[in-house]
Every structure is written in C-alpha cells, then in structure tokens.
Symmetry: C2
Subunit: 192 residues, 2 copies
DNA sequence: ATTATATTAGACCGGTCGGTTTAATACGTG
DNA sequence: CACGTATTAAACCGACCGGTCTAATATAAT
C-alpha cells in the first residue's frame, strides 16, 4: 500500500517538475521515466490514458502545491496588500534556488496546449481559478467588496504570471522584484 | 527578386502564426511547410540553421508586428493611461476574431524554450524589452521620471502577458476586460 | 500452498520528428 | 545562346515519439 502511492506519486511529482520547466511537448515520456527510474509498464498501469492523463494529474498536483505556498504566506500577514507583496518576494527567493527549479508553473503547459487539448486546458483553467480565488478571499476577509476582490484577484494573478514569464526569459529576477516593489502603489485604494 | 522575398517572408509569417498558437515543439516543420506550400529544400536554403533559425526570425517578425500595433494606438491617444487602456481593449477585439488567431504572441515559445535554447531565449527577451520600452517611452513623453516609466513599462507588459494567458486558458475575454477596466485605477498616481 | 491480482519489465510498433542529400529546374547575366 | 547561380523538389535518414503488448514477478488472501 505504501509502495503503490510512492510509485504513482513519484511519477506525478517528476512529471510536474519537468512540465513546469519545459512545457508539454518538450518533455518525453522517456524523460519522466528515466528521471524517476520507473518502467514504462507502470506508467500505463497507473495512467491508462497515457501522457495526457498524467499531465492532468501533474497540473492538479502543482495547483495544490502553489495554493499551499500562497496560504502559508497569507496566514502570516494580515494586511492583504502586504501579504501579496510578501508572496511575490518569496516567489523571487524560491526562483533563485536552482536546485528545485520552479519554472512557469502552469503557464508553459497552458500556453502550449490550450488550443489542442481540452482536458489539459480545463485542468490549467481550474488551477488559475483556484489561485485567483485564494487571492480574492484574502481581500474579502479584509472587507473589500466581492467585485473588488474578484477583480484584484485577476489582476494579481495576471501580473504574477506575466512577471514570472518575464523573469525567466530575462534570466533575471528584476521584473518580479519591480512588481513586488510596486504592489502597494498599484493596489492602494485611491478615490473611493 | 520578388519571389525570393515572398517565399522567405511566407515561411516567416506562417511560422510566426503557428508558433504563436501552439508553441515551438507543438509545431512541426512539416506543418509550416504544408500550410505555406513551400518545399523543404527551400526552407533549408533560406534557413540553413533549420527550425531554430526560422523560429528566431519568426520571433523578430512578431516583435515588429506588435510594436506597430502598440504605436498605432499610442499615436491616437495622448494620455498614457488612456492609451494603455485602449491598447488592451483593442487586444480584446483582435483576439475575438478567430480568423487570424493571435495566440500568446511570444509567451508560448518563451515559456517552453527559455531553458533549452539560448538563441530563442534571447530573441524573446529582445521582444519583451522593446515592447516594454515602447510602453515606457509613452510615459516619459508625458513627463514621468525615467524610473517611474521603466517600472510602469514592466508592470504593463507583465499584466498584459498574464492577462492574455488567462484569457486563452479560460476561453474568455473576461480577464483582459477586467484588466483594461482597472488600468486607470492601477496606474493612477496617488501620493506624489 | 494456491490462486487471483497488482505491478514491473522492456521489447516492440508505426508514425513523425528535424535534418541531409542529390538531382533537376528556373533564372539572371554575359 | 550559354553559363553559373539560386531555387525547388522529394526521396531518404537515424532518432525519438507516444503507445501497446506479453511475460515475468511480487503481493495478498484463502
């Protein structure tokens, strides 16, 4: 009972990591197999739907990890704007660490496959939705209106996803650092 | 002299369009060839470096098209904040048109290949840089400080790239519409 | 011990990938 | 026209792709 979960879980974790880094088509089944040391027969035993099924579960896994990452910071910081700022700062830290590369968590796979695989598109959409709601909830708890919180959630998610992409492409944490720095200015309530 | 440019140009345009939609590994050379009706020999005549070289030129082409798209709107609108808002609104319009799909202009290819191909990563980085500077210039001309303009350029680029990704994944223009709607609130100068 | 089941192992498949090669053909220029 | 170059054409290559299949092997229950 323990070995089973380990094998399947190892497959999901390895796939999640590789997909984050190189997207869907950039990762072969054999890459995942070699890196996890698991034979091909096992993969098709646990994932009879093959690569696509494995990818859907890998996306679900990444979604959960990221939610945990967000909530851990949010629990420590009451003010929602400061919380978002801290969240982005921690993201910068994590991305600096080259041992466990973060990549573009869902973005790489989403941008590749959104038009060619509905199951994958839906899985990515679900991840984005839940991340957005995790942000929104923080603002609702702080007294923002539902519409305000929803809109801010979308904007925060967009600017973070975009910032990660810019930082990866520039090989520099500057874009994300600038975004973190400017978050209070961006989100500050002004007239009303 | 005319046919040459047409053949090479057709190759670049077709590659640009397909890469935007499905990323790098998602597009085979044969897809590009079939769609443009050009034989493989010609491709390797014009692009002896093969797929990677073609991709670099396709990215350069996309970069130029997007700059033209931005500047056309910017010329019509003096106020930089309104100009950015109009730009995003036009982006929503263009993406609604399914005849000439926009995709995730550089994002798809950047997120896939940033870690595995330096030439492609650099080409994408160059595109992002120039887009950012196109935004920044608008704010400098309106009297913003250099640092302010630079930071705003990064943020606008990030939120747009992220918004496109969210809209494509959601199959909805809502994320981009919300971003456009909130742009004045985000960029409004407050204290200072 | 026996049986049923879950899992591992990896050879194998057809198809497609990016890329190479060679020969034919169009074309510009003297 | 003749000649050298630019271009087209497609057969072909080895490598790798995702996926299938069958047999061996653990594992658990009776």
């Amino acid at each position: 009972m323990t070995k089973k979960l380990n094998t399947k879980g190892m497959l999901i974790e390895t796939a999640s990591r590789l997909f984050r880094m190189r997207g869907y088509d950039g990762v072969g089944l054999n890459d995942i197999l070699k890196e996890s040391g698991i034979p091909k027969g096992s993969l098709y035993h646990y994932f009879p739907e093959g690569k696509e099924g494995l990818a859907v579960e890998a996306i679900r896994h990444t979604k959960g990890v990221v939610i945990g990452f967000i909530e851990e910071v949010f629990e420590r910081t009451e003010d929602p704007i400061k919380a978002v700022q801290n969240h982005i700062c921690e993201l910068v830290e994590v991305m600096r660490d080259e041992k466990e590369p973060v990549g573009f968590p869902i973005g790489a796979i989403a941008s590749e496959k959104h038009s060619t695989s509905e199951p994958i598109r839906k899985a990515c959409h679900s991840a984005f939705e839940e991340w957005k709601e995790t942000y929104s909830r923080k603002f609702i708890r702080a007294g923002y209106s539902e519409k305000q919180a929803e809109d801010l959630g979308i904007i925060i998610l967009a600017v973070i996803e975009g910032g990660i992409l810019l930082s990866l492409t520039a090989k520099s944490d500057k874009p994300l650092r600038v975004i973190a720095e400017q978050i209070p200015m961006l989100l500050a309530k002004k007239s009303g």
